[in-house]
């Protein structure tokens, strides 16, 4: 007979938890870790800049790169900033990239290896993509109040992915 009292009480207590709760407001964006393949770093004189880029445009060509970077609002974003770089000669670096909500169809690592400021001095050295060879870019879709984790990117300077321009 005690069971008749114990069980309903247990069920009531069990379901008294709130369950799902709304998370605190977050800045939209995505983050993860960039892994650099050991022994593939290029010499320092060819490492003028190293950025993480997120492009709403894909496929890209030379014209779209500058349009995307300098349009208002921009369609291509660089991390950490145009005048800053990802750290050089490290095994890995974690990042948190805040940017406006949108569908970023092409996310990867961009190296500037020559002094002239044109697409001829840029190359993509890593891409957030499928495990296939060559990798296909995976879009990162950022919604309002959403920060996506786990966007990990592998970089092998000796074996860059197909170049978009």
């Amino acid at each position: 007979m005690k069971l008749l009292l114990v069980l309903p009480t247990a069920f009531l207590i069990a379901s008294c938890e709130p369950g799902l709760t709304p998370p605190p407001e977050v800045q939209p964006g995505f983050g993860g870790t960039i892994y650099f393949e050991n022994g593939t770093w290029p010499p320092p004189d060819s490492l003028l800049n190293l950025w993480l880029f997120a492009s709403q445009l894909y496929p890209l060509d030379s014209a779209k790169v500058f349009t995307g970077l300098f349009s208002n609002p921009p369609l291509i974003f660089l991390y950490p900033a145009t005048d800053k770089n990802l750290p050089f000669f490290v095994d890995s670096v974690s990042y948190a990239f805040n940017l406006p909500p949108g569908s970023y169809k092409y996310v990867g690592i961009l190296q500037r290896y020559a002094n002239e400021f044109s697409v001829r001095s840029l190359r993509v050295v890593g891409v957030y993509g499928t495990a296939s060879d060559p990798p296909l870019p995976i879009p990162v879709i950022v919604s309002e109040s959403q920060f996506i984790s786990g966007i990990d990117i592998k970089v092998n300077f000796h074996k860059p992915p197909p170049q978009p321009f």
Partner: protein
């Protein structure tokens, strides 16, 4: 096709001598509870070997007319009571005989009669597989508005929103290609385009009972019965006029968190249902109409629904009967596919904000049954299911689909002897789909089946069956399947039953799964066809035992193992594809495509314990199902399957007051499709918790005041627990419902 149906019906009617009337006697009386003397409502009273039958009304009264003169046996059955056969009831032509029948209460599980396990009436104790029943009374007590609601508390059954999953058979497919076969009065009831179950069109208010058979059942029922079979049996037309109605009005409680408040208005969920049935000579008829309006607790999720159901039965003679059923539903529903984010869980993603789905669905079915002798009868059944829907966004029509599905089934049952019953038959189906999402495609299939139930020893019954199916869809090559079944039941005494069974199942890919193609859907993911899909298959093994301890305790335990091959699941991946067939270039991007993704093994156990505490005053039930759903391809747990299901219920009656409670626990889904969440994208789609829901309700019978009414008050999800059954879809929080039921 309509001409063909008319021709078939007319041929049946004329061949049976529609105008021929049989002069006979009348047997009438009451069915009462042997212990309390109270009327037993809804009991089935049938003359053995004939089609003469009746169900008892609210006063427990029955009336059997045109009974052939001579001696007959009357069979009386009702869930919760021992089945009773009254032998040697003698009646002569023109005579009216009164017979009071006393039914002995029994533990709920043992007393019932089911029809689904072997395509014929048999006692639950004789069934070699696990089977659960849900009665009309329980459905009414819970105020279930659609059938999927009624299934949420069946042990071993887990609902993922409107997608049914029996013992882990089904993952995430948004209902497309159901692996559980739903039958309406024994006939397949799913849509022709996507092969999904349309719960709303099933006339819940006119259901007599639901039978849930767990495990593969294709040896009797063909495609889709991989995980189990759910047979919805509608009410028999009573012998006297009956008007029933139900009004209910529910109020969603205020959102638990201010972030989830999207409307300042109170949100209601209300409905009205009415049903009138009567008999006039040989003709029985039932008309039912319902209207439900749900404001919903979520934005753009409201629906308005009209439903109509009618059943006509003409007793051509004592041995022949024709039943025609018509069913129609008209619905407009908001297109809430998934939430914007967990932070805005009651708002849909922006792309779904202005979308709505308009649908018109209906069926026309017939059933002709004839007893050739008291040992042999056959049934011819057919059903047409039409499904028409369209979705639009801000007034712009996106997708339109029309599908027509015809099923015909001829079944014969021969009671060779008391210990040898042979059932055999043939079935055919024709399907035609015309949709911008799926294209225009026909499908056609045929099947033959046979089953023998043989008493090999006095207390042991062996069931063996096999079914051969052939199917061809559009221009694809035809395929065929052979599905066997074997069952053994040993009943050493009246209280104990030990069972073992083996069965196989299969499912043809739905036309929608083969041909769906869309580059602009609710998400930013393209959907591609896959005409190389293979038939998915299953094999079920089960051993189980049930025992009554005295008359107050009933225990059933089962161990099961289901093997699945070629499971079809929507796969989400980055692929290179042509955005439209004539496109000169290929693009890469996220793509949904139905694929044969995996092999799986699901093992587990299920136990059900029912206890009656103060006889009729309180009955409790506990059901626990453990499953280990293993993905053999990836050597890990299958996606979207819970490991534990625990359901508990209590029903009590004190005089005119009835109260009940249900508790439901579903363990947290351990593995989901990360690609789906990321690429669809479903923001916070990985957010999930165990399900722990408690419902309470009470109702009071006003018969004591001379009114045939019952008023009820229900509180669903009493503790306002927040959870998801389906990724990105917050389930309803606390809801208060007032109901009024009447029967005249």
């Amino acid at each position: 096709m309509s001409r063909f149906l008319t021709y078939v019906l007319l041929t049946l009617v004329s061949a049976s001598g529609l105008l021929a009337q049989t002069q006979g006697g009348t047997i009438l009386g009451r069915v009462i509870d042997a212990e309390t003397g109270q009327a037993v409502i809804g009991a089935n009273v049938v003359i053995h070997g004939t089609f003469i039958g009746s169900s008892t009304n609210v006063r427990g009264e029955y009336r059997l007319v045109r009974v052939p003169p001579g001696s007959c046996a009357i069979e009386v059955s009702m869930v919760g009571y021992d089945r009773l056969t009254v032998e040697n009831v003698v009646v002569s032509a023109g005579q009216q005989r009164t017979l009071e029948i006393k039914l002995q209460p029994a533990p709920v599980q043992t007393g019932g009669v089911v029809v689904t396990a072997s395509r014929r009436e048999q006692s639950l104790q004789e069934v070699p597989v696990s089977i659960a029943t849900v009665t009309a009374k329980v459905i009414a007590d819970r105020n279930n508005v659609t059938l999927d609601d009624a299934l949420r508390y069946v042990p071993g059954v887990n609902m993922m929103a409107d997608q049914v999953n029996i013992r882990g058979s089904t993952g995430y497919s948004r209902g497309v290609g159901s692996r559980v076969l739903v039958l309406l009065d024994g006939l397949p009831y799913f849509t022709g385009d996507t092969g999904e179950i349309n719960w709303e069109t099933i006339p819940v208010y006119d259901i007599d009972r639901i039978e849930v058979v767990k495990g593969a059942g294709s040896a009797l029922y063909g495609s889709s019965a991989l995980g189990g079979v759910i047979n919805v049996i509608t009410k028999e037309i009573p012998s006297s006029p009956q008007l029933r109605f139900r009004f209910f009005s529910g109020l969603y409680d205020k959102a638990r968190y201010s972030d989830w408040e999207w409307s300042s208005k109170a949100r209601f969920n209300s409905g009205a249902m009415a049903s009138y049935s009567n008999r006039s000579g040989s003709l029985g008829y039932l008309f039912s109409v319902s209207r439900t309006v749900d404001d919903s607790y979520r934005q753009n999720d409201a629906y308005h629904r009209w439903a109509f159901y009618s059943k006509l039965r003409y007793d051509l003679s004592a041995y022949r009967s024709l039943t025609i059923a018509v069913n129609y539903l008209d619905r407009t529903h908001g297109n809430f596919f998934w939430w914007k984010s967990l932070r805005e869980a009651t708002r849909p993603a922006d792309s779904q904000l202005n979308g709505k789905v308009t649908s018109r669905r209906g069926s026309v079915g017939f059933s002709y049954k004839e007893f050739m002798s008291d040992k042999f009868y056959y049934t011819v059944k057919g059903i047409y299911f039409g499904n028409f829907w369209r979705d639009d966004s801000s007034g712009r029509v996106n997708n339109v689909s029309a599908s027509h599905l015809f099923n015909v089934d001829l079944q014969a049952t021969y009671n060779y002897s008391a210990s040898n019953i042979l059932t055999f038959g043939a079935a055919a189906n024709y399907d035609r789909v015309n949709a911008n999402l799926f294209g225009t495609h026909p499908g056609v299939g045929a099947a033959i089946y046979a089953q023998d139930e043989l008493g090999i020893f006095p207390q042991t019954k062996l069931t063996a069956g096999v079914r051969f199916d052939w199917q061809k869809v559009s221009i694809l090559p035809s395929t065929s399947q052979l599905n066997p079944k074997l069952g053994l039941v040993y009943t050493p005494d009246k209280e104990t039953s030990i069972r073992a069974s083996f069965g196989s199942g299969f499912r043809y890919p739905a036309i929608g799964e083969l041909y769906i193609e869309s580059s602009t859907n609710v998400s930013q993911v393209a959907i591609l066809p896959n005409i190389d899909l293979q038939v998915e298959k299953s094999i079920s093994y089960e051993v189980g035992a049930s025992r009554s301890f005295g008359e107050l305790v009933f225990l059933d335990v089962a161990l099961f193992r289901n093997e699945f091959k070629n499971l079809i699941e929507p796969s989400v991946e980055i692929k290179t594809y042509r955005p439209y067939p004539s496109s000169p270039t290929e693009i890469s991007g996220p793509v949904i495509q139905f694929e044969n993704v995996t092999r799986a093994r699901i093992e587990g156990m299920e136990s059900n314990l029912k206890i009656e505490w103060w006889r009729t005053h309180l009955s409790t039930g506990i059901g626990y199902t453990y499953t280990w759903p293993k993905d053999l391809t990836e050597n890990t747990i299958l996606k979207f399957r819970p490991r534990h299901l625990f359901y508990a219920s209590a029903f009590s009656t004190f005089g005119h007051l009835r109260a009940s409670a249900d508790f439901r626990f579903v363990s947290r889904i351990e593995r989901i499709d990360e690609n789906l969440i990321r690429l669809a994208p479903i923001v916070d789609g990985d957010q999930r918790v165990p399900i722990k829901v408690l419902d309470l309700r009470a109702s009071y019978d006003l018969l004591g005041l001379g009114l045939p009414l019952r008023v009820g008050f229900h509180v669903n999800n009493v503790t306002d627990y927040q959870y998801v059954e389906l990724v990105g879809n917050l389930a309803p929080g606390r809801t208060f419902v007032l109901s009024l039921d009447g029967s005249f």
